[in-house]
């Protein structure tokens, strides 16, 4: 039984898909059957519902019809009433009230419409005979009603108003004789409403109603129209069929869901079943595949084992013997495969000295203390070749516990390399240690890590340097993580320590080292594998060393800088000597620049400039540009100087003698400068090897020289043109050192004559005047005072000339007088005109004074007289007494006379001054005086005076005769008038010539005049000095005016009570 089942199962399991499909189908069928059953129930229920609905509707319609029938009966009875119209109305109203749905109520005797209620409607219907109606429907139905002799319902039909109505008619028989019809109608809509037919379209069911036409008995649908119906109900009273049908062929709405569920369920079950059935088959297949794979692996293992490039052997721990070996193993052992029969002892394979070590480690592996063992040994094969092997043992998974895999590797080559490496390492070590330069091996890997953590890797160098510069605290960290792997002796020596452990941060913590270190770090961050730079380290004894730093990353460590060979070289001494050299060079440069000139050298052969000192730049030339320039000379030397300069130069080179040249040259600004070039030759064994020149800018001194020449020429010109004499003299001896050419012209004396005398004053002045002048001059010169002199000289030709002399001093910077300089200017003309001016000024002021005096006197004298006349006339007018008037009139008369005389005198004075040309003649002075004395004889005798005319009879003067007579008359009469009462009057007249003046003097021994008191009034008009009532005071005034009109003047000398002398100057 079980076998059959198994077999069936097996069979099934062979076609899992088919089985699955079958199961799915079965479930599908069963499911659908269930759905069908369910659907049937649903439909039955539906139909039940429909017939119920129909029944309800039929009942409702029946109700309406019944009510209509009642109404018909009620209205029909009115026919029997005595007043049928009235009864109709009241009855119809009552009916309508009871059944509001009734449209109208009609009575039709003999089929003719007579009464209608409500009568507001259908008045057109009145008198219409329905039995003879043209409308077939109405006529036929009426006939049928009559034929049936009972209530007959018709409709719907269209009434006269066009409304669809349903009507009930009843034939009325009175005494079995047809009387007519009664009719009640209702609107179709109303009846439909009352029937409660659901009209909503979304309703589950559709309804339809039809009537059997009374015309031809055909079915006419008036409410809906359905061809297929589920149920039908007939209302015989009205011949209506009511139908009901389902709106669509509805199925249960849940059915599709069920159907879908069935489908899915069947498919799922089918698939699952197929799977379930398939499982064991798959498992079997997998087992088969695994087995095959295992077999393959095994064979692969076998092949691998056999052909492995390393020696393999399976060994037994328990027996410590070999179970199986591969080819390589044999090869390494140098034995044939057959040699290793099962159970071959390991001790025979592994050399004795390594065996115990092997066993110990093997044991640990077995015990699980160690995973692998590591044994290396060398053994000699039968063919005497030596092989290095490396043995390892690994447990065999899955194998018996005691079986292990032994791996034997040929490491002969590696071993040899290692040997070689060791050798080269030791060689490197000795080179490293004994190298003459300081070397160190440094591990910068931690530094790199640190740089990475602070994010400097791959950053631009500038950024890194800036960062490090602003974070100096980083460096102590850098120093801490820098690991010095090894150093050589030289390195330690350079740092002044004996052990590398003694190296401290202080050896490096100086600004210069930090700077270089920063650059190194920047290089590292940029993955550079080489570096070289210069820096300073501090010895432990504090001494600084200039060192050259360079390092290189060992190849293979470029990624982490773990091994960096770092070398330093002490260049302190080189630096120092460099410094010295620089200093020496600077000294030389300074020396060259200190030379007051531009130093240059040139090649004697090519004339190229080989050197030119920096000073040339001061002139605006570019030092660099001039170097090597052959045409330098031609370029800058002034065109006019070029040829002569080249000629000189060539001659000089030929003779080989040093020479100085002066020439003009252009500066780059096209300015012209003067240079003195001292050119000499540098010789070696008589041969010129270089031309050496020192160029000095002499523009200034040239300029000065030129200016000086110009100035002195100009000076000469000025000196020669000055209308005066310029001289210079020694300040000590006052002897002339220079006299200008004008000396001769102005003084008549030549320069030589001037120079022969100690001074010019001796030449052209009287001795006294010369001494006075020279003394005055000397005192001034001794006190170094610039001063002016004015003096008169007599020229060689005897001419008198006036000079003004300005004397000044030429001093050196210290103020010492080097020379006295004098300029003598001829001011004769000036002086003469000055004299003229002062003379005319004197005349003018005299005239002015005279004029003032004149006007004063005029006003005073005339006014005193006129005011007196005025007062007197006033008095006369106020007096009645004739006796009193008489003397007053006398006074007026006298005053009038005086006034007349005064005016006459004034007239005379005015005349003197208004006559422009006074007539003159040659007069014998003595004769004129004698005549005047004669005129005065009377007065002279009266006073017993003596007048002495002491004048030579040969003296003639050119004068106006009447003036002269008047003058002499006035002075003599004056002398007699003011004679002293104590003496006999004596008047003396004399004449003398003094300095071209002719002087007539009149002296007396009279009372004299107090000149201090009255001097200014002496010659004033009408001034009297004493109480002498005779003195009118006009005489002297006139005389004075006459003398002055003739160009002379009068002087007076007097002593009170001794006498007076008047001196008349006659031109």
């Amino acid at each position: 039984m079980k076998r059959v089942l198994d077999k069936a199962l097996e069979l099934i399991s062979q076609f899992p898909k088919i089985v699955g499909i079958i199961i799915a189908f079965l479930i599908f069928v069963i499911g659908n059957m269930l759905i069908y059953q369910r659907e049937n129930v649903y439909r039955f229920n539906n139909e039940l519902q429909m017939s119920e609905n129909l029944e309800r509707i039929e009942r409702n319609i029946q109700d309406v019809l019944a009510k209509m029938q009642d109404a018909l009966f009620a209205i029909s009875f009115t026919v029997y009433e005595t007043t049928p119209e009235y009864s109709f109305d009241t009855t119809a109203r009552a009916i309508k009230k009871k059944n509001p749905f009734i449209h109208n109520i009609i009575l039709m005797p003999n089929g003719i419409i007579k009464y209608i209620y409500p009568n507001t409607l259908n008045t057109a219907l009145i008198n219409r005979n329905i039995l003879k109606d043209s409308n077939d429907y109405i006529r036929k139905s009426a006939e049928r009603t009559l034929a049936r002799q009972k209530v007959y319902f018709i409709g719907p039909f269209k009434n006269a108003d066009g409304d669809s109505v349903v009507a009930g008619r009843m034939p009325i028989f009175i005494n079995n004789k047809f009387w007519g019809f009664s009719a009640v109608s209702i609107r179709l809509n109303d009846i439909i409403t009352l029937s409660h037919i659901p009209v909503m379209h979304n309703h589950k069911y559709d309804y339809a109603i039809s009537q059997m036409s009374p015309v031809n008995d055909k079915e006419i649908f008036f409410f809906n129209h359905i061809k297929k119906y589920s149920s039908k109900y007939t209302i015989p009273e009205i011949n209506w069929n009511i139908y009901i049908t389902q709106k669509t062929n509805l199925i249960n709405p849940t059915t599709p869901l069920y159907f879908l569920g069935v489908c899915i369920l069947s498919i799922l079950i089918g698939v699952m079943a197929a799977r379930l059935i398939n499982m064991p088959a798959k498992l079997n297949k997998m087992v088969d595949e695994k087995t095959a794979e295992l077999e393959r692996t095994e064979s692969k293992f076998k092949t691998t084992f056999d052909n492995a490039p390393i020696g393999l052997a399976i060994i037994d721990y328990k027996t410590l013997s070999i179970t199986e070996v591969n080819k390589k193993f044999c090869e390494l052992a140098g034995k044939d495969k057959n040699f290793f029969s099962e159970g071959y002892g390991l001790s025979k394979i592994i050399p004795a000295k390594s065996y115990s070590n092997f066993y110990e480690q093997f044991k640990q592996v077995v015990e699980g203390k160690k995973k692998y063992l590591y044994i290396e040994y060398q053994h000699q094969r039968d063919d005497l070749t030596s092989v290095w092997t490396h043995v390892n043992v690994a447990s065999m998974p899955g194998e018996h516990e005691q079986k292990y895999l032994m791996l034997v590797e040929d490491i002969t080559d590696a071993k040899i390399s290692e040997r070689r490496l060791q050798y080269s390492e030791s060689r490197f070590k000795s080179v490293f240690d004994n190298a003459p330069i300081a070397l160190a091996e440094i591990d910068y890997s931690q530094v790199m890590d640190f740089l990475k953590t602070i994010g400097l890797i791959d950053k631009p160098k500038q950024y890194i340097l800036k960062y490090l510069n602003s974070h100096p605290e980083i460096f102590s960290n850098i120093f801490r993580v820098t690991r010095l792997i090894n150093t050589n002796q030289e390195f330690l020596l350079l740092h002044g320590v004996n052990k590398k452990e003694n190296l401290t941060e202080t050896n490096f913590a100086n600004a210069e080292f930090i700077k270089t270190l920063s650059q190194q770090l920047a290089a590292m961050c940029n993955h550079e594998v080489k570096f070289s730079g210069e820096t300073i380290i501090q010895n432990t004894d504090g001494k600084s060393h200039n060192i050259l730093v360079s390092w290189i990353v060992l190849s293979g460590y470029e990624h982490n800088y773990e091994h960096v060979i770092y070398s330093i070289k002490d260049v302190t001494k080189i630096k120092e000597s460099e410094k010295e050299l620089k200093k020496a060079k600077l000294r030389l440069e300074n020396t060259i620049n200190a030379i007051d000139g531009i130093l240059w050298t040139a090649d004697p052969g090519t004339s190229e400039i080989t050197f030119v000192s920096e000073k040339i730049e001061e002139l605006g030339y570019n030092q660099e540009k001039i170097l090597g320039k052959k045409a330098f000379i031609n370029d800058i030397i002034h065109v006019n100087d070029r040829e002569s300069m080249m000629a000189q130069f060539t001659a000089m080179v030929k003779s080989g003698r040093s020479h100085a040249m002066e020439y003009r040259a252009y500066t780059p600004d096209n300015e012209i400068k003067w240079f003195r070039d001292n050119i000499s030759f540098v010789k070696d064994n008589g041969k010129i090897i270089s031309i050496l020149g020192v160029m000095v800018d002499v523009s200034d001194s040239k300029y000065v020289q030129q200016k000086l020449e110009e100035t002195s020429a100009r000076m000469q010109l000025i000196i020669d043109n000055i209308d005066g004499i310029v001289w210079t003299a020694d300040p000590e001896t006052l002897t002339y050192s220079f006299i200008s050419n004008k000396a001769k012209k102005l003084t008549g004396y030549t320069r030589e004559e001037w120079l022969n005398k100690p001074n010019f004053a001796a030449l052209c002045m009287s001795e006294g005047e010369a001494k006075k002048l020279i003394d005055k001059c000397k005192t001034q010169i001794n006190s170094i005072t610039p001063h002016n002199l004015k003096y008169k000289i007599t020229t060689k030709t005897g001419e008198v000339k006036w000079f003004r002399e300005s004397i000044d001093y030429i001093k050196n910077e210290k103020g010492k007088v080097l020379s006295v300089i004098g300029i003598m200017v001829d001011i004769t003309t000036l002086q003469n005109s000055k004299n003229e001016i002062s003379k005319s000024h004197a005349i003018l002021s005299e005239q002015n004074k005279r004029l003032m005096n004149f006007s004063y006197i005029v006003s005073h004298n005339l006014r005193s007289h006129t005011s007196n006349i005025l007062s007197l006339s006033n008095l006369i007018m106020q007096t009645d007494n004739q006796e009193e008037i008489k003397p007053l009139l006398q006074y007026i008369h006298d005053i009038s006379n005086i006034l007349s005389n005064t005016i006459e005198g004034l007239n005379e004075v005015v005349n003197i001054h208004t006559i422009k040309e006074i007539k003159t003649e040659e007069l014998n002075l003595k004769n004129v005086i004698d005549y005047t004395i004669e005129v005065l004889r009377k007065q002279i005798i009266e006073k017993s005076a003596t007048v002495l005319n002491n004048i030579d009879e040969n003296i003639y003067i050119n004068y106006n005769k009447s003036y002269l007579e008047s003058i002499i008359f006035n002075f003599i009469s004056n002398a007699i008038k003011y004679s002293s009462p104590d003496r006999k009057p004596l008047v003396n007249l004399n004449f003398k010539r003094d300095k071209g003046n002719n002087i007539l003097s009149i002296s007396d021994n009279g009372i004299g005049i107090d000149l201090e008191k009255n001097g200014d009034k002496l010659f004033g008009l009408f001034k009297t000095f004493n109480a002498n009532p005779d003195s009118k005071g006009i005489g002297l005034y006139i005389s004075k005016n006459q003398i002055e009109a003739m160009g002379g003047h009068v002087e007076v000398k007097s002593q009170v009570n001794v006498g007076t002398t008047f001196e008349v100057y006659i031109i």
Partner: protein, 134 residues
């Protein structure tokens, strides 16, 4: 003014003196009237009156232009004795000079009360005497 006045006239012009006498005699207030021909005579009279205590002038009419001693010289002499006077003498310059210079000089003397330009009139005298003719 009930006081009796002594009045001096110093002038060299006889005509003026006559006129002055004629005019001044009209005033009753003047008790005595003296005439002098120049400064010297005038100052002499003043000195004399001081010594004797008689006829000390209250008012002097003084000319400038005079022989021997002119008006200014008189003033210089007068200043010397001025301090010994009990009462100041009113000095009036009476001159025909119209020179500004003379006016300036006159103004420089505090003793000179006014500068009268000739002719001498009743109106001027009224002002000097602060009264009118009797």
């Amino acid at each position: 003014m009930n006081q009796q006045l002594n009045l001096y006239v110093i002038d060299d012009d006889p005509v003026f003196k006559l006129i002055a006498r004629k005019l001044l005699e009209r005033y009753s207030i003047i008790s005595s009237l003296f005439f002098y021909s120049n400064g010297e005579e005038g100052i002499h009279a003043v000195r004399q009156s001081l010594e004797t205590g008689k006829s000390v002038p209250n008012i002097i009419l003084l000319d400038i232009e005079m022989p021997v001693m002119d008006g200014w010289e008189f003033m210089n002499e007068y200043i010397k004795i001025n301090s010994s006077l009990r009462d100041d003498i009113e000095i009036h310059i009476v001159s025909s000079s119209i020179s500004e210079n003379d006016r300036r000089i006159a103004a420089s003397y505090a003793e000179i009360k006014s500068f009268i330009v000739k002719p001498l009139t009743i109106e001027t005298i009224n002002k000097i005497l602060h009264t009118e003719p009797a």
